[in-house]
């Protein structure tokens, strides 16, 4: 990156922007960098930065979390999950555990992990115990899960996979009548794994400016400048402002593991509904490690209540970039990180949590 953040801001302020220009990001890491650096306040007022579907924990279906809770409570297993999944509440009566954390308090063996490698080590260290790894994540996090399967896992470890692809959610928004944004900043680490090419549709099919960004202010401002300039010059292309990591075709080993171990399927997004070809499930060759097949009685069809967020919670609107976090009535009143109502206030990648941590308070 040749310019400093200050120099990029100067360039941005010199652009002849006359109308509102809305740029969506789809990565919790991007949103955190933007908020912590205070980029919104530093940009020209015409430029609006909108947090979009960038939080895998926020869109993890309520029924998957419920399934993990029930498995942990009723089976002789150890349930492993990434830490920020543990406090996400589900819709049950107040007498029942509403989160994995509460299930742990009720006696279930639930442990937070930071890496799939930990799941492997724990399962190997106790071969007579069953372990279930509840793995929610976008492509960057799902690829290591695929690698874990390809490298080989013991029989006493199974995967409850809730993996999602990022671009189909953006595609769904762009196919709708009201996408709500004029340009896209594409996620840097998703593109590192999958390659930048999968974002080409934004430019080619929808004629919107797009740029892949990294996580520094410099890279994010470079991408912001790029999409503004593309629009002003009426010359749209997919820019790569994170070339140090994002290579053409992405990470070939990771993509090979994803193809070998997982299949792309239609998938439910919490509060949003089913998005075609937007999720991962275990490939038939790896069925014996699929927790959904190992414990079929917990994969309850009657629990599939697409669109459900807690009452009054606007997480779904926030995830889709239709509302800003502080436009939700619960933000900062009934819903705070210590006592979250919706998943966007729980996860480190949730826009509500990020805005709260960044000091944004209710209007």
């Amino acid at each position: 990156m040749s310019l400093t953040a200050k120099a990029w801001l100067t360039q941005l302020r010199q652009l002849p922007l006359t109308e509102r220009f809305r740029i969506m990001n789809v990565c919790g890491g991007h949103e955190r960098s933007i908020t912590q650096a205070g980029l919104r306040g530093a940009l020209p007022t015409q430029i609006e930065l909108i947090p979009g579907p960038g939080c895998p924990v926020c869109v993890c279906p309520e029924e998957d979390i419920y399934q993990a809770i029930e498995l942990a409570l009723n089976e002789e297993i150890t349930l492993l999950a990434f830490g920020d999944m543990l406090r996400v509440p589900v819709n049950v009566s107040k007498q029942q555990p509403r989160s994995l954390d509460q299930a742990h308090g009720a006696g279930a063996d639930i442990r937070p992990i930071a890496s799939p490698i930990e799941a492997l080590k724990l399962a190997k260290s106790d071969p007579n115990r069953e372990f279930v790894f509840f793995a929610a994540g976008f492509e960057t996090t799902t690829a290591p899960v695929a690698s874990l399967l390809v490298e080989g896992i013991p029989d006493n470890l199974s995967i409850l996979l809730s993996g999602r692809l990022t671009w189909p959610a953006v595609s769904m928004l762009l196919e709708s009548d009201t996408p709500g944004f004029d340009a896209l900043v594409a996620p840097g680490h998703v593109a590192t794994v999958m390659g930048p090419e999968e974002w080409q549709f934004v430019v080619e099919k929808h004629q919107l400016p797009a740029a892949v960004a990294g996580f520094t202010s410099e890279s994010l401002l470079a991408a912001t400048y790029s999409v503004c300039r593309q629009s002003l010059e009426d010359r749209r292309f997919l820019d790569n402002c994170y070339a140090e990591l994002v290579k053409p075709e992405g990470n070939p080993s990771a993509r090979a593991h994803l193809s070998a171990a997982l299949e792309v399927v239609d998938a439910n997004w919490r509060g949003i509904g089913t998005i075609p070809q937007s999720g991962f499930s275990l490939h038939a060759d790896y069925a014996q490690w699929d927790a959904r097949l190992r414990y079929p009685e917990y994969d309850k069809a009657d629990r599939k209540r697409a669109g459900e967020m807690p009452a009054g919670c606007d997480c779904a609107q926030v995830v889709l970039g239709k509302k800003y976090p502080n436009q939700c009535k619960l933000y900062g009143t009934a819903c705070v990180p210590r006592n979250p109502v919706g998943p966007c206030m729980v996860s480190d990648e949730g826009a509500c949590r990020i805005w709260w941590s960044g000091g944004v308070r209710p209007d």
Binding site: D84, T141, P144, T216
Partner: protein, 80 residues
Amino acid sequence: MCLGIPMQIKEIDGFTARCEAKGVEREVSLFMLQHEALATDDFVVVHVGYAIQKVSPQEAQSAWEIYDEMLTKMDPQTDA
């Protein structure tokens, strides 16, 4: 969860490496970088325990300068 941390490889044993950043050592899987020739002292970006890309020492250094800045701005009190 999409955060990637640049780390330096200290030792390689098959697809497992001992990596270091800021004096902290971690075991890192190189299984997702089988297509890269990796050696001791190389830098990789690590996500949930897996190296996802090789980076130059300069890129690792500049990424850490930014992360240091971000970490100093993080105030745990505001998360309450």
